[in-house]
Symmetry: C2
Subunit: 410 residues, 2 copies
């Protein structure tokens, strides 16, 4: 097979240029799983067999594609990922498992590669059988169109309630060569600790040894996708995958090397930026909220406290209403399950200290103004107990969230 | 002191008659803590020293009155409870503690009883110092008006965002005599496991031994107030108290007696009914949702699963939208932290089986109709694993919840 290789830089809302890493070809199509007129399926293809790693939902209820991918990825090898939106293929029983295996097999046949190298991902409504005749019909189209889609095109094709496509690229110098790490993702609702209804696909032309790749991804996900929350719900389908095809020609990066550090830093930037875009696009959100807890005994405690505040409906609605109601932050800290002395707690909203030693400083009006004038706000909490900290990203809770989710299937 | 004793039966929305048990006098007043024109303070007084028991918030951040009451109630004795709305006296530091002690002391002086017998409860905004001059001014008024308020009057005085007062009475035959158990409560928002921003006061003229009273209350609260959730938030102030003054003249009820069983059953009915009223009045709620999990390995597991579903914003918005989106119920079960096999799960909405063996039955349209036509809906889940079960009450999540909570302090 021969494909014309396109390197397309697309402009995103956030004005970042994105590049497809060397040796990857993309394709997007309309399988009519979603309403007509919308792209709903994408193919990510590496021209050579690649190293691959993944992180998957910890939900006990796992979609059929997730179950398949978890098994396959043990090999550490992959070459293609087919992703559809509109149907999650979750809670679909044996038929779901059969359908996902067939999808991988049909895709492999069309690409003339081994089915073990093809991964399948899905997002959308739970409990509806996958329309296999539509999948079967679109597969040859996806293959034929390889190389004609940009990162943005495939990011658009996998959207559900997202309002904009999410893609990011990072150039990285590894010794004398400049490689690329690019990622796309989808998010919107049902985002919670441990990567909920979140799909993320990262491609790189930098050669990374397969166990090192897996370690890097898992560690990176922990501080990015696993530290965002929109509504506390966690999905059956979330998946983050990374493919490294080595098209850059560098010698395989191994852990604890100087190159690993450089690669890992760039990967962390990519996953963090993608997380930030997911929060920015939280269903109905008008504000992003960074909740940072400092002075905790350990990181786990800091994370627990930060998530408790970030998941509080009362905190989120107060921020939406530009109301510096720090009592709700104190209450959410109090029921987080961690131990602390309320007399030692201080809270800042932006630069304004609203709580000192557990009681109000009388600067609520000033803090209300801060909330009114900023769409990215920060809640900074100090437990004054130890030296560990954690930051969790979330968004406010609005009437629009209710509308989007009350009418999702109608 | 002499008070005219009033026994007032008031009609509630739910058409139940309520009676003040023998030997109790009630009073309500306007301290102007809330906006003028609204009653915001109440006094519950027993004409004789009573046995008293309490259950309090498990939030690490505890309001000043809660801290005081937890200490006092160790004696098992009490005679008066003064309750204000509009100000929670939480996160108010040392001043808060001083204020609550002073309130108890002033109230005791006015009633000419020992300060150790006076309990103080507060609900409202966190972090604002208590306006003590207003409390001081209203205390003699409360004393002077004792006997002039009904259960409904005091239930009204302690409301915050509640839209109706909540009171209930139960007549109980103990041997040859008929006693009364009456309770009032407030709820609305910030209701979560372990009794959040919930105040509940139960009075009875039936004599119950003090340790027995405490055991009965705690057990009763576990299956009522601790099994309701509105938004998953838990407050700094929640308190449930029961006073037993023995005015009925029965011999003190002790555990494991026949009379205990009768008393406990009636108490359970009172606490369950009050919980139901709280859910009915959830902020912005249009529907009550009973989530029952059956077939769990043990009760703790059943409770965990039921709370996970009841707290899911996505489930709550789907019910609001009359959308039988059972996939969200499956997802919430999946991230609840319990272990189960999704292929064994069945789900009913009302009488309609929407999930069998983990997959859809195709009855979504029928289930949508069920949701559309009912304001009290049930989600019945069977894990088909063991024989334990638990039921949690909640309500749907609506645009109105957002409005109420975004504008609470404005």
């Amino acid at each position: 097979m021969h494909y014309k290789y396109d390197k397309i830089g697309v402009m995103l809302k956030n004005k970042d240029k994105t590049y497809i890493p060397e040796g990857f070809l993309l394709s997007a199509g309309e399988a009519a799983i979603k309403k007509p007129g919308k792209k709903d399926i994408a193919l990510i293809y590496s021209m050579t067999e690649a190293n691959i790693a993944g992180a998957f939902t910890t939900n006990m209820v796992k979609a059929a594609p997730v179950r398949l991918d978890i098994e396959k990825i043990k090999s550490g090898k992959g070459q293609a990922i087919i992703v559809n939106s509109g149907n999650a293929n979750a809670c679909t029983g044996r038929k779901g498992m059969k359908d996902v295996a067939e999808t991988a097999s049909l895709m492999a046949k069309s690409l003339k590669i081994n089915p073990s190298l093809v991964y399948v991902c899905s997002t959308g409504v739970i409990g509806t059988p996958m329309p296999m005749e539509k999948i079967e019909a679109i597969i040859p189209v996806l293959t034929a169109n390889l190389g004609r889609a940009s990162l943005c095109d495939i990011a658009s094709a996998i959207m559900t309630t997202d309002t904009f496509p999410k893609a990011i690229s990072k150039k990285v110098k590894i010794k004398s060569r400049t490689g690329t790490i690019s990622g796309i993702c989808k998010g919107a609702g049902m985002i919670a600790p441990n990567m909920a209804t979140m799909l993320c696909f990262i491609m790189t032309d930098i050669a990374v040894e397969k166990r090192t790749l897996s370690r890097a991804l898992k560690d990176s996900v922990k501080k990015s996708f696993n530290r965002i929350t929109i509504d506390g719900d966690m999905s059956t389908n979330d998946t983050a995958m990374i493919m490294s095809n080595g098209a850059l020609g560098n010698s395989e990066i191994k852990e604890n090397s100087a190159s690993y550090k450089i690669f890992k830093n760039a990967l962390d930037e990519v996953t963090y930026e993608l997380s930030r875009l997911i929060i920015k696009d939280g269903e109905g959100a008008t504000k992003s909220i960074a909740t940072e807890v400092n002075g905790a005994a350990d990181e786990k405690e800091a994370e627990k406290a930060a998530f408790s505040v970030a998941n509080s409906s009362l905190v989120k609605t107060a921020i939406y209403g530009n109301d510096a109601n720090w009592g709700r932050i104190m209450a959410a800290l109090g029921y987080s399950g961690i131990k602390f002395n309320e007399e030692n707690v201080s809270i800042h909203l932006g630069n304004i200290k609203v709580v000192n030693k557990g009681t109000g400083t009388g600067k609520d009006a000033e803090a209300n103004n801060y909330l009114r004038n900023n769409s990215e706000v920060s809640i900074l909490i100090n437990l004054n107990k130890g030296s560990a900290s954690a930051k969790v990203l979330t968004c406010d809770l609005t009437e629009e969230y209710i509308r989007v989710n009350a009418e999702y299937r109608t």
